[in-house]
Amino acid sequence: MAPPRKQQQQEEEEMVAGGGDEAAAALRAPADVIARVFSQLDCVDLLSCSLVCRQWYRDSAELREEWRKEYMEAWNQFGLYVKQQPQQPCPTCSSSIRTLRGFAASATDSSVCMYMAVSLPIRSLTPARVSGDAGPSHTLAPPLLSPANAANKTVRVQINLEEHKCASRSRKRKTKAKVGRKKTKDSTENGSRNHPVVSVVSGSTTTSNAESSSSTSKAGEEIKVASQLRRFAFNDLKCATRNFRPESILGEGGFGCVFKGWIEENGTAPVKPGTGLTVAVKTLNHDGLQGHKEWVAEVDFLGNLHHPNLVRLIGYCVEDDQRLLDYNAKLSDFGLAKDGPVGDKTHVSTRVMGTYGYAAPEYVMTGHLTSKSDVYSFGVVLLEMMSGRRSMDKNRPNGEHNLVEWARPLLGERQRFYKLIDPRLEGNFSVKGAQKAAQLARACLNRDPKARPLMSQVVEVLKPLLNLKDMASSSYFYQTMQAERMAHSSSMNGRSHALKVQGSFARNGQQPMRSLSDGPRASPFRYSPKPNMK
């Protein structure tokens, strides 16, 4: 039916070339057509469109504004960007006429990038998608979440364990025979909905020279590069975590639960708690969003990544449906800025995978991930440490669910920032230090990624805080606060927590660590609702 393509192309070229008024007049696109097209895009693509030409910029303004509002609402409520199907725009508003074609492209890439940068709703990062990295498959837009789903959408697990040097080397066992053995599904045994699909990560001090069994299973084959990884039998990990005992849960992410466990230092066999190598076993939640693809990506990526501040992946387990990652017991993984961007790319676009409450707004919004997104996540953790609250806590009164949104106004004020500090510290912290930390958290949590400090700057700020001795307990201001607090709540959660704002950061130079010595239950992460402290 169609005329030969060459002819068509010629025609098109003619139209483009002769884009005079006459041609343009015949090629007008009413606003409702554009609006209809735009309504079928997600926010990232809509932003691209807004930078195509002036008319598109204006045409998309309404929709962008609408989404921005929705986003802010959602952000305040859920800490997440929520967007489902865009509303169909009104089909009758065809007042303005828009031209789509009949122009010659004349823009340079740099100008595009600049525009992209300025027009992102929550001012986002530097160069937008790098051209050449086009193709829908590469630039996946953030998945659009519905509020109902939002709570289930979180994905990354974040664990902070104290680095644990292996205490004993005894108890080595032969386990190779077990590796890769078929295993019947007993994933439901742990009673939770987290079907163990596991990754194991080990203490950073140990080098893994463990056996790399060439796997036969499908999933195993996909993990090509990570040859240094150990391959665990599901049973081993089950034993190592004492049957995925609820008490050994370290954290929970969208992936699934993370359990604490102990394995042989150089093998895969489970050992008695407290001996061998302390590991974090990350299970993959079957109905979680982070599916097999992400799991493989994580294994592949972490398996090759060695950094003192990052958890090291020791091995993995693939048996039937069981997929587990085994980490060294030290990790802060807030959805790593994925594979470090290469070359002139300053970020990567991925499906938005972030632990709810930790993910930077621009990441949630656009899927663009940079190192500054991790700075944001760090800010959240810093805030958690100071406040003793979790980043998201549904048990708190309305308006306090999202730690960042609750704390943001307090961070800026000298007078009110005391309200932020974990009351369980009972004044056992440096006022100056806490103030500095609050300032720092505020900077890290800036909505504008470019305004956030570098991690190296963060360290510089934190270092001197160690030596501060002006304890709040002796300050008049704090005493007043305390008195106020006591009046509000009779029951104060007992003992002072081990956490000190001043001391906790620099223990190993730069990594904020939470001590696990008193068990995860005692950590503020696990802290249950606290008395109202307004």
Partner: protein
């Protein structure tokens, strides 16, 4: 080519089909007449309302905004959806396949795709409009502004002044 067979198919279909059904003449802006079945023409909400209002059925409908090439293609779609039944699974599958092929052909020629979109909008042909706008949206997805401009042959016309404007607007947000 498209014109001839489109019209011929329409005429042939019309003869075969319900003899009671009226034939309607649509005239492109070049003055070319296309005779289609009423069922086919009724795919267009614009024409449907004119027919129902008892308008100029006999004289035919001049469509000053649509050229012959585009109209032929639009009629091709209308014939398929207007004259064929879509009751059984097979019939629906056939229509879906038609849509798929139809849009794939258009997708190869963005300029023409745009013409057809405009025509579908002007004639209020819901199905076709949804089909083509979706296709345009799919083209846009995952592209940089630069690539979008290239794909649609759009001129980059944001000036330094606009840039300021955009910046300002953004900082207010």
């Amino acid at each position: 080519m498209a014109t001839g067979s489109g019209a011929a198919a329409a005429a042939a279909d019309a003869e075969e089909k319900e003899s009671g059904s009226r034939m309607i003449t649509l005239t492109s802006n070049e003055g070319k007449a296309f005779v289609v079945t009423e069922a086919s023409a009724r795919q267009s909400a614009t024409i449907r309302s004119m027919v129902d209002d008892g308008g100029c059925v006999d004289k035919g409908f001049p469509l000053p905004n649509v050229d012959s090439k585009t109209l032929a293609r639009v009629i091709q779609y209308c014939d398929e959806h207007g004259n064929k039944e879509a009751h059984t699974v097979d019939e629906r599958a056939a229509l879906a396949k038609f849509d798929k092929d139809f849009i794939a052909e258009l997708d190869a020629d963005k300029a023409f795709l745009y013409d057809v979109t405009m025509a579908a909008n002007y004639l209020h042909i819901q199905g076709l409009f949804a089909l083509t706008t979706q296709c345009i949206a799919d083209t846009i997805k995952g592209k940089t502004p630069e690539e979008i401009r290239t794909a649609f042959g759009i001129e980059y016309d944001l000036t330094a002044q606009d840039e300021e404007e955009i910046k300002e607007e953004d900082t207010h947000a």
